[in-house]
């Protein structure tokens, strides 16, 4: 089951660690699984709490008697799904996250490739510039960014959020992908160049497919940046029909009388699709870059 349907490269990668299954002693195997199980438990522990709370009536979520299950109900889910704009927020979030992901991958891949392969003037500065963009705290920048968005007429549009999320995600992803591209032998570029491919064709047809794990990381990162972000969404979005999930959910925790039961139910509904994206994307974390690249 660990051999993912990544077709050709996967078996090679797995085969590359022959010591693994063959030689690992049962004790080592047990230790490995035990460690991973403990780590997984810690990872899902707060999420389980959220999950259990989502089935409780409101008054039982924060209570001096700690219970796993109490008066289980699906009312919270039905409220969130049918009495709020949750489905709209979900659609908005999916659209925004996918747009951020696609544009983000494209932008950071081209940038990362240029940074990795071409020693153009300004290259070093650009890498530093990317760092600087991450250094100035967003909490403080939000007012001027709002004014720019207002000047561009983007307030209360999804484009504003996609652009804002790109500024968060692309610098990191470009750095990341530059590292991946660095590890792809330049001989491949040269070979493509000899075959008559221009720099864009080389990038698209030769390099991109080889950088799959890096692209997968980029995809994770861009998608999740857009998925859980609240500060920009709360500043730029003004009407209920434009809210993203993370921001819309904040409506469940007003100043007084926070409705934890709705928040937790919504959180579960938010985590499930993200988990599915993971399930799909994690396969690409193992790919035949090295095997395919150097042997093929």
């Amino acid at each position: 089951m660990t051999v993912t349907p990544m077709a050709a490269p996967a078996p090679q990668t797995t085969g590359a660690h022959p010591r693994g299954r063959g030689r690992r002693s049962p004790l080592a195997s047990l230790g490995l699984h035990a460690t991973l199980i403990v780590a997984s438990l810690i990872a899902v522990f707060p999420i389980v709490w959220v999950l259990l709370s989502s089935f409780k009536p409101g008054h039982a979520v924060q209570s001096s008697e700690l219970t796993l299950v109490k008066e289980p109900t699906l009312a919270n889910y039905s409220y969130v799904l049918f009495d709020t704009s949750f489905p709209t927020w979900m659609v908005n979030s999916v659209v925004i996250a996918l747009c951020t992901m696609l544009i983000g991958i494209l932008m950071s891949a081209t940038t990362g490739y240029a940074l990795s392969r071409f020693n153009f003037p300004g290259r070093r500065h650009l890498l530093l510039v990317f760092l600087v963009t991450q250094m100035f705290p967003v909490a403080i920048l939000i007012v001027p960014i709002y004014q720019i968005m207002a000047a561009l007429g983007l307030i209360n549009t999804h484009a504003a959020l996609v652009i804002a999320y790109l500024t968060i995600a692309v610098p990191f992803c470009s750095w990341m992908l530059k590292g991946y591209f660095d590890s792809i032998p330049t001989s491949l570029d040269e070979a493509a160049s000899i075959d008559g491919a221009g720099p864009f064709a080389t990038f698209w047809k030769v390099i991109m497919p080889l950088a799959r794990p890096g692209i997968a990381v980029t995809a994770f990162y861009t998608f999740l940046t857009a998925w859980g972000e609240v500060a920009y969404a709360s500043a730029f979005m003004q009407t209920d029909d434009r809210f993203t999930l993370a921001y819309g959910m904040q409506q469940f925790v007003p100043q007084f009388n926070a409705q934890w039961e709705y928040l937790t139910a919504a959180a579960v509904l938010v985590t499930v699709p993200a988990g599915l994206v993971f399930l799909y994307a994690q396969r690409h974390l193992v790919s035949g870059l090295t095997a395919g690249g150097t042997k093929g």
């Binding site: 409220y79 307030i155 209920d240 904040q250 007003p254 009388n257």
Partner: protein, 432 residues
């Protein structure tokens, strides 16, 4: 003791019917107005109330409003309270995206008004019967001699107590002073084993102790910082002593508010200092024993008097709203803040009307909790209504945690607050 739910429903619909007729009358009587249907505009309203529990009642009122004014479209937008202040200011400063009408917390109004973000309402129909509003909630709308809003709801802090625990402990009357509270708490602990009082360690919740000794945060007339006055030190010491002596539960440094409400709802603590916004929450808690079990009294007095801060929300109009929408906006706010609308909200949500005439309406008069809160509100103390008013509480919260949770000296802690006020909040005020 309460009417049946059916009775409430009948009263509520009666209130709505009254509202409709009342507004119809107003519109026809007003000399400058013609047919309400001729008024046409699209208005955006940012409501900061609780969208799940309170939002539906406001939407219901909008529907009623549209029966009279079919061509005024209200875009109701719920905005989380915690966001609304910064969100409004950011949008107003950029002149893009701000709503026409906002439900603003009382302390926001002088701040927004000083920045030029609000229409002043002087000379408009909204202030025609200004004297019908309680003076203290109304005062929060005044800035530099002009009026920038009308009160939507008002609130104040009160002593909320568990009647059953009081009976079990043999206490027949709500304590009137902090000394009485201490005695009552000891009796409760001895007779029932339960805790007497919970003080939320937040600056706002310590104001009754400060007012009780005749103190205040700043003296706006003399432009003086008085937060570390002897009276205030004495008041904060009273609170600290309640915790130290065990009369009040030692509060946690984080989530003190939630802890207070959970303990109160589970009948583990007999008394809390809190406001009418929690009445609904207590009423619906299955562990509390219903509204019949809830007692409400004025906050206990210190050595000088009993006083609690006024809170609440106002309707304000954004100064960037086009002038031609003014008539529609006024009609809407007038409708929403009418005595009948307030009575409807009081009945539905348990919030306190700001108009004297609203308390004459039967559904309000017969509401025991609102009746209990009315003297509390009438005696509420106005806060310093200056633009910096919202900034007083960060430092005060720090003080509350230091004194009540960490056991620091009240005087030293208040001196630090005074320093912060001088260097960061009201720089042109003199230190005491």
């Amino acid at each position: 003791m309460r009417r049946t739910a059916r009775g409430i429903a009948v009263l509520a619909s009666a209130a709505i019917a009254l509202v409709v007729t009342a507004c119809g009358n107003d519109a026809t009587e007003a000399p400058t107005k013609t047919d309400p249907a001729a008024l046409s505009a699209e208005l955006t309203w940012w409501d900061t109330s609780d969208p799940a529990n309170e939002g539906p009642a406001f939407k219901q009122l909008i529907t009623e409003f549209n029966k009279t004014y079919p061509n005024v479209k209200i875009n109701y937008q719920s905005v989380p309270f915690g966001d609304a202040q910064n969100k409004f200011k950011t949008a107003a400063a950029a002149k893009s995206g701000a709503p026409d009408i906002l439900r603003a917390e009382v302390a926001w109004v002088p701040e927004f008004a000083s920045l030029g973000y609000l229409y002043n309402l002087d000379g408009s129909e909204l202030l025609a019967d200004e004297s019908d509003f309680f003076a203290t909630p109304m005062s929060a709308n005044k800035f530099a001699g002009k009026t920038y809003g009308v009160p939507q709801v008002t609130d104040s802090l009160a002593l909320m107590y568990n009647k059953k625990i009081f009976t079990e402990a043999g206490i027949t009357e709500a304590p009137k002073t902090w000394a009485d509270v201490k005695t009552a708490a000891a009796t409760i602990k001895a007779k029932t084993g339960k805790d007497g009082l919970f003080i939320n360690p937040g600056g706002y919740f310590l104001l009754p102790f400060i007012y009780g000794e005749g103190g205040d945060l700043v003296d706006t007339a003399a432009k003086k910082i008085v937060v570390n006055s002897d009276a205030n030190v004495a008041g904060i010491k009273v609170a600290a002593d309640l915790v130290k002596s065990g009369a009040a539960v030692k509060p946690p440094a984080k989530d003190g508010y939630g802890t207070m409400m959970t303990l109160f709802k589970e009948q583990k603590v007999a008394m809390i200092i809190n406001g009418p916004w929690e009445v609904n929450n207590v009423r619906t808690a299955p562990t509390f024993g219903g509204i019949e079990n809830l007692g409400v009294a004025a906050v206990p007095a210190g050595s000088a008097k009993a006083g609690a801060p006024v809170g609440g929300h106002n309707y304000v109009l954004y100064s960037g709203m086009a002038q031609d929408k003014a008539a529609a906006a006024i009609a809407f706010v007038k409708f929403m803040s009418s005595a009948q609308s307030q009575a409807f909200l009081a009945d539905k949500l348990g919030v306190l009307p700001t108009r004297k005439s609203a308390y004459e309406i039967d559904s309000v008069k017969n509401n025991a909790i609102i009746a209990a809160f009315q003297p509390v509100v009438a005696a509420a103390v106005a806060r310093p209504w200056i633009p910096e008013g919202g900034q007083f509480f960060t430092a005060l919260d720090v003080m509350a945690t230091e004194v009540l949770v960490q056991g620091k000296d009240a005087k030293a802690s208040l001196d630090t607050v005074a320093d912060t006020y001088k260097t960061e909040v009201v720089k042109d005020y003199s230190a005491s």
